[in-house]
């Protein structure tokens, strides 16, 4: 055993004590964070799970400050699961924040049912009257006739495609019918340009969402209202289409991460990616321009039906316990004005719920023209359309299907989950 002098023990302790004293002083000086900005600048605390948007929120806050007297201090958590838990735990306390970024649809209903959110119906109507808000979105933000959030932005689901790959397989026009779409998938798949899919993460429902809504928007909507069952033969037909894509190898391997897909497309290893317009910026960061990638709307399966766009909106809600309740409500009305929405939508690279906002990005612009021309039907995203617990459990089931496309087992399981979770939802929708 090595020699140790008796003195070193005392030296060790003295050194440790010194470190502790200094560190303790440092800790005391810089206590907590919080909503207080610098010298007296008043801010509304906004909780969100998008740290990459902090600059955008705070820029919007400066415009809002001119109207309302309060800016925005964005406080974010990088993981969605922790964010959800923190908000649920925070709402009944003093630390509820002034503005909460949350989902729309049933996720919002579940939160509103906890009774912790402020009623924003008046603010919604104010924004609509000023022409700053598309009133068609109201059902996605309401519970029992009252509005509980205003939209953060308004995304649409489209299919992004690799322009040079499409040219290589000899296709000159983007598909307008479902038959043309399947031809595109087959030709691209056979030439080594698969469609993005994966079993990890939340996106496992994406093919289901696209196929079923293309088959029949009525069927899709009925499913989301518990008026149709997963054992419906039309659903089975949809699953068979999906299975065909998987069995033929026209989709990426099951452990692909969707975060890698834009880079794969840029490298010429991917042909198609069905995702929302909030992902538009990812393609640009991967190094592509509108000469390399484009987007088209999902064609319908039945001739004569309109194209389908899956709507994807998030919202901003106000807790009942908000320390600056009135200012927060007023801030949301200002949030919807063009003065805030135009720079915000350019920052985030997506569409706004304010119909007066113009779009600068060429790919987004092309999507807008296609929408104007084809007048598509809208459905709401799968994630917001079902009871949250069912969404989570079905995500896992779809993940299993992607690895092993067993239609019977999958549909039986989905049906079982749906029955269980719809029953629980009807009894008590609150998620808190």
């Amino acid at each position: 055993m090595a020699r140790h002098s008796v003195i070193s023990g005392r030296k060790l302790l003295a050194g440790a004590a010194a470190v502790l004293v200094v560190a303790g002083a440092l800790t005391g000086c810089s206590g907590g964070g919080g909503g207080e900005g610098g010298s007296g600048a008043k801010n509304l605390v906004m909780y969100n799970d998008n740290p990459q948007w902090t600059k955008g929120f705070e820029a919007a806050g400066e415009t809002i400050r001119k109207e309302v007297g309060y800016g925005i201090k964005a406080q974010s958590l990088p993981t969605t699961e922790n964010y959800t838990q923190t908000v649920l735990a925070a709402l009944p306390t003093k630390k509820s924040g002034d503005l909460i970024k949350w989902w729309s649809g049933k996720m919002l209903e579940g939160l509103a049912a906890t009774g912790q959110l402020a009623d924003l119906t008046a603010e919604w109507e104010q924004a609509v009257k000023a022409g700053n808000l598309n009133d068609a979105l109201r059902p996605y933000f309401s519970l029992d006739g009252k509005v509980y959030a205003l939209p953060l932005s308004q995304s649409s689901w489209v299919t992004y495609y690799n322009k040079s790959a499409l040219k290589k397989v000899g296709i000159t026009e983007t598909p307008k019918t479902w038959a043309e779409y399947e031809t595109v998938i087959e030709k691209l798949g056979k030439a080594g340009y698969p469609m993005c899919t994966g079993q990890t993460g939340w996106e496992t429902f994406v093919p289901f969402q696209q196929i079923i809504s293309a088959k029949s928007t009525t069927l899709y909507t009925d499913l989301t209202e518990n008026k149709a069952s997963f054992t419906d033969p039309k659903i089975r037909e949809g699953m068979e289409t999906w299975k065909r894509w998987i069995d033929n190898g026209w989709v990426t391997p099951p452990d692909t991460k969707s975060a890698d897909c834009p880079a794969m497309m840029a490298a010429g290893k991917l042909g198609l990616m069905n995702t929302a317009t909030w992902a538009n910026g990812f393609f640009k960061t991967a190094g592509m321009t509108d000469a390399d990638y484009g987007a088209f709307l999902t064609p319908p399966m039945a001739d004569g039906d309109p194209a389908i766009v899956v709507a994807d909106t998030a919202g901003i809600a106000v807790p009942k316990n908000a320390p600056n309740l009135d200012a927060a409500k007023k801030a949301l009305v200002t949030w919807m004005t063009t003065g805030v929405q135009q720079p915000w939508s350019e920052f985030v690279g997506d569409f706004s719920a304010n119909p007066k906002v113009t779009v600068k990005d060429p790919v987004l612009d092309s999507i807008l023209s296609q929408v104007k021309k084809q007048q598509p039907a809208y459905v709401n995203r799968y994630y917001e359309s079902f009871p949250p617990k069912f969404v989570q459990s079905s995500i896992a089931t779809f993940g299993g299907f992607i690895v092993k496309p067993d239609i019977d087992a999958t549909l039986t399981e989905l049906d079982r989950q749906a029955k269980q979770e719809w029953a629980a939802w009807e009894k008590n929708p609150s998620i808190g």
Binding site: G9, A16, V19, G32, P78, T79, N82, A89, A267
Partner: protein, 274 residues
Amino acid sequence: MNQLRLGILARNTIVIVLALLWAVPTYLVVVNAMTPVASYTGSPVWWPSGFALFDNLAVGWEAGSFTAPFLNSLLYATLGAGIAVVLASLAAFGLVIMPTKHKRLWFWLIYAGTLLPLQVFALPLYQAGVATELYDTKMILIIVYVALCIPFGFFVTRNFMVTLPPEISQAAKIDGAGWWQMFVSIYLPLIRPAMVAAFVFQFIFIWNELFFGISLTISVENQPVMAAVATMQTQGSALSQPAILATALVVSLPAVLVFLFFQRFFVAGLTTKI
């Protein structure tokens, strides 16, 4: 004689093979962290195709606003691991050397800290944090990290102390030493290897910790460095793998350096043929 040389050859071969096996994934990380973003195809590479480590790092570092969290983690890891190891050694001394009753009970109570899945603590600690106004402060993270690190330090120093001959304390008491003096002058130097090993590993644990960091704090002023890494990743594929990898790798450096620096304290010159 030949048998001996053969034995040494066998041993050396096994060690080299194992060391290389262990090095392979680390090598892959470094190579892929060096890949320029422009050459990234969505699949990993075995050979470096460029040297863009610092470019990637710059991109990632800016995306995650790392400065404050980096300093925060230095504070949390040093204080958390340091205080925990001291408290743990005191407890080990109290249970092994001093005549305490119910030694088994106290051992299991302290050791139980390592038996519980971490996620269990998130909600109760959050609520306690809000109630005591400690939520989103540095203090709450330090307290929680100290608590999380005590059981490991306790277990390691206790089992080390148990191997020390009891004659030491007997002789000390005959000399008239008090308990505190005995601890500081005699036992502390003796258990230094165990304490330093415990400190190093708990430093690394706290440095790499994410879950409590984002459950108990929300402001950038208080979050640890791994929260900044996670923030960087929320850019989605806006920030591709090489940038994320390069930044995460550089952020791991302090933990690596702490290990390399302190290891001489617990692997001091063994020349015995074991």
